[in-house]
């Protein structure tokens, strides 16, 4: 259901595996986040993701439980990278399966908003002009607020 990986993974391979376990669901949504090759017009050379176990894992598992309680999902998969990454590599993969198209879309969207703003990670981008720690943007917090009940 959830894996924290310190090595590159292939999101297409993750989707292939996910599709073997969707239990007859009609709708499958996947989201993949890749390391961008540039930010603010300047080249990005690397991204470093730091986690704090077991807090990071507990939080993500809790978010998956929340999604499963809120939407009728037959399967959920979350993969998140930690450590050093290079542009183009997948950072995060979320997949949801449901009999209902809207449920699959919304649950994937919800999980991504959680991962962007509440999951226990710290992110450092390295570019031509040095390294910067990246915090969520105000849009990320606004996106997250859409799911308040």
């Amino acid at each position: 259901m959830f894996d924290l990986l310190d090595q590159p993974f292939d999101p297409a391979e993750a989707l292939k595996q996910f599709n073997t376990a969707i239990g007859g669901a009609g709708a499958v949504v996947s989201f993949t986040g890749h390391v961008r090759p540039s930010a603010h017009g300047s080249a990005v050379t690397g991204l470093f993701l730091q986690a704090y176990s077991p807090l990071t894992e507990q939080g993500i598992e809790q978010a998956i439980e929340t999604a499963t309680a809120r939407w009728p999902l037959s399967a959920v998969r979350v993969i998140h990278r930690i450590g050093e990454m290079t542009p183009g590599e997948a950072i995060v993969f979320v997949a949801t399966a449901s009999a209902h198209r809207r449920a699959a879309f919304e649950a994937a969207d919800f999980l991504m908003d959680y991962l962007k703003t509440e999951a226990v990670f710290w992110k450092k981008e390295t570019g031509e002009t040095g390294s910067t720690w990246i915090e969520p943007r105000s849009e990320d917090y606004q996106d997250r607020a859409r799911w308040a009940e």
Binding site: G33, L49, Q50, A51, Y52, P54, L55, H80, I91, V92, M112, L115, K116, T117, E118, A119, V120, F121, W122, K123, K124, W133, I134, E135, P136, D140
Partner: protein, 82 residues
């Protein structure tokens, strides 16, 4: 000895990610802890910010909360993955 973990940008400020250090007698809760750490690491208020949350023994705490020798105390600036 308490075990301090400085995550994200805080390690750049303190110069270390993981530190073992005895708690002075004056430090009994998260409030006195923050002041002492901010002074010790000359963090210019960075460790006092409310956006920096504290986790004690792997649980995020509502402050003020007591701190004790042998605690693992994590200082966590705003989180976000993906």
């Amino acid at each position: 000895m308490a075990h301090f973990l400085f995550f994200g940008k805080l390690a750049d400020i303190t110069g270390a990610m993981s530190v073992e250090q005895p708690l002075p007698d004056t430090v009994t809760d998260t409030s006195t802890l923050r002041s002492w750490l901010d002074e010790t690491y000359q963090a210019s208020g960075a460790l006092l910010e409310t956006t920096v949350r504290l986790a004690i023994n792997s649980e995020i705490v509502a402050e003020p909360a007591p701190v004790r020798e042998h605690d693992e105390i994590a200082l966590m600036p705003p989180v976000g993955g993906g």
